[in-house]
Symmetry: C3
Subunit: 291 residues, 3 copies
Amino acid sequence: MSRPKILVQLDPDPQASLFDAVVAVDSDVDQLLQYRQVEPAQVRDLVHGAVFTRGPKDLHQTAIFVGGSDVAQGERLLEHVVDSFFGPLRVSVFLDANGANTTAAAAVLAAERHLSLAGCTATVLAATGPVGQRVVRILAGEGCHVRVASRSMERAAAVCAQVNDAGHASQTEPVATTDENALTAALDGAQLVIAAGAAGIRLLPEKVMAQSNLQVAIDLNAVPPLGMEAVEVMDQAEQRGDCICYGAVGVGGTKMKIHKAAIRKLFTQNDLVLDVDEVFALGREVVGAGD
Amino acid sequence: MSRPKILVQLDPDPQASLFDAVVAVDSDVDQLLQYRQVEPAQVRDLVHGAVFTRGPKDLHQTAIFVGGSDVAQGERLLEHVVDSFFGPLRVSVFLDANGANTTAAAAVLAAERHLSLAGCTATVLAATGPVGQRVVRILAGEGCHVRVASRSMERAAAVCAQVNDAGHASQTEPVATTDENALTAALDGAQLVIAAGAAGIRLLPEKVMAQSNLQVAIDLNAVPPLGMEAVEVMDQAEQRGDCICYGAVGVGGTKMKIHKAAIRKLFTQNDLVLDVDEVFALGREVVGAGD
Amino acid sequence: MSRPKILVQLDPDPQASLFDAVVAVDSDVDQLLQYRQVEPAQVRDLVHGAVFTRGPKDLHQTAIFVGGSDVAQGERLLEHVVDSFFGPLRVSVFLDANGANTTAAAAVLAAERHLSLAGCTATVLAATGPVGQRVVRILAGEGCHVRVASRSMERAAAVCAQVNDAGHASQTEPVATTDENALTAALDGAQLVIAAGAAGIRLLPEKVMAQSNLQVAIDLNAVPPLGMEAVEVMDQAEQRGDCICYGAVGVGGTKMKIHKAAIRKLFTQNDLVLDVDEVFALGREVVGAGD
């Protein structure tokens, strides 16, 4: 008889995400244990509670989800989780703070339906935020030439250095999108643009997009004003001029499928760490299985 | 296959009410998610987590309960909940902070077993508190002549103005119960008295009650000294002189049935807002079905 | 139809113990309700929520677990729980803050496999801590001559006075283990030693142990440096010289079985208070049933 599947939700926010909780319940978790206001120093005891309670053959029935609105805090919690394991005494863990990993994976998978990523040129706007960095990393791993765009050349260069150091299939290059001319240049020759900016910030005016030869445009901002003037939030493979467009809600269905698949995956073994690369690989399986 | 029924308990108190949690578990909720120390500013994100996670046809399987010991705080949370919905993207919500709605409904339903409410005269003692105000509102809606009694005429008048503005079937009138003579006058000609005072406060001495022609007396205070000297906490349709009496525990059974019925009702559609009027209407169905 | 089994976890710590939560889930609890940062003043309302929600014949389906890392705080919460019951309106409660009761019981049960406790001489090192005091109390109750060892004679004497006042089967005597000579004397003629010290504190050097005629040595410290130099954390009835040794992990299996049995026991009636004596008695049943 197998043990109930326990998911431990670790969330640094004042209230644990209800979004993440509902998705967990809908992903066949038997027992959700919500922890909020979780500080790095509290992680060790919690992880010990996870690994010292069930025998080795049942450890895959306990898993940890790290969420919350702040991706940097989530990453820190994830590090503490992994550091607290005792050799084979460990449980699987999935990081999706602010939905960053599932959103980035869903965006790239939307692009991949219409483009061959290897060898294409992609521009990522607001690429230095947590979702943007993850999009850059996935695209580089798939062999895209990635232009890492930010208002700050310094921050763009830092992201490139980090991604290039990770030894991905292709190199990235920083671009500063300080004005419309710079933005136009950043899109010149690109087939794909993904905007990963914060809520309510316009990143790409319609007239700049009209001058481009983009084949796919994906905007991940769901709160008006949207990141791309020419793209609607509900767009899902919407043909606008010569460009296929996706809005934030348009990639939301795939994002949700990936999130649920990742929760279910946690309970298949006790040693998974699902971060951006693993989540993208899983997303590809999910989409391939008939999204 | 239907989704698990998720009830989200929003509670502003330092600890979420265990009373409300146990009642939820006993009302066929599949998954209870407890949130405590909930502040109005946190409601929007929580509501979004409720409405953006399940498709339209499953939204009725998620619902919100607003509780806590402070009715005014609960009302504020309820407002924020309703304001955070997106058109049809909403879930049902039930307010029963401090048990105020279910208690008020149970009290009036107890009276209704013995009296025809329409046209009768009812005096509500300590009528300006959260339970008292709800009792006044229900009685006015049923066509009672309601005397709204308080030590403060000003507060009594404010409650009357609010209830009369709501356009109920009958008008209310304020009375100040500053001494025994005023209290005697407030009960003169009344068939029903309901005491909705705070715990441990005596509102109606036995000798004042003895001079009245009351047919039904209901005391909602469960902590000695009780609100009515002549009524016992366990009284349930107890005949005392010519008056039928109920104490707080005596209406507790009906209150609990209404509470559970309201929780179950939440999951029948996704757009209910169960506040005082809806809870009373539901209570009448519950009692009619053989309380 | 019986009600779901609800376990209320009351924990004074910043985060409720995940260890205790997982064990609860694995002990057939249907609904775990976790409360953290619980203060004594909050207990009454929580207990009322437990006892006023289900009818007398269902009260045994609700129970309370008091945990947390601080045994003294747990004891205070337990007192408040018991004080908040209303005569027969009560639920069963189990104290195992910091695992103190289950650990003490498991240690004595390990000794009992190899020794007849009645009439034997046992030395308890670091006997004034929460686990040590419980070990002393159980051993005295079983008729051991117990030497209560501490660096402080005063604290040792206080523990003895408390245990002797409780009228156990045998008397205890305080010993101050201020240096190796004192420690050697404290073990002279003893058949059993149990070390109940804090994590990382060495209590018994190998050379002192080598001079003794101990038959059983049990170290409850799991964090190096261990409490006994000659005992390993995984030892489980390991023969070392003439002495049978147990380490903290070696008694962990029995501890876990007792913990689970105690959780299950809670739901058999509504008036149990499972503290050290009850937990030891239960442990003996568990071990007798084929540990």
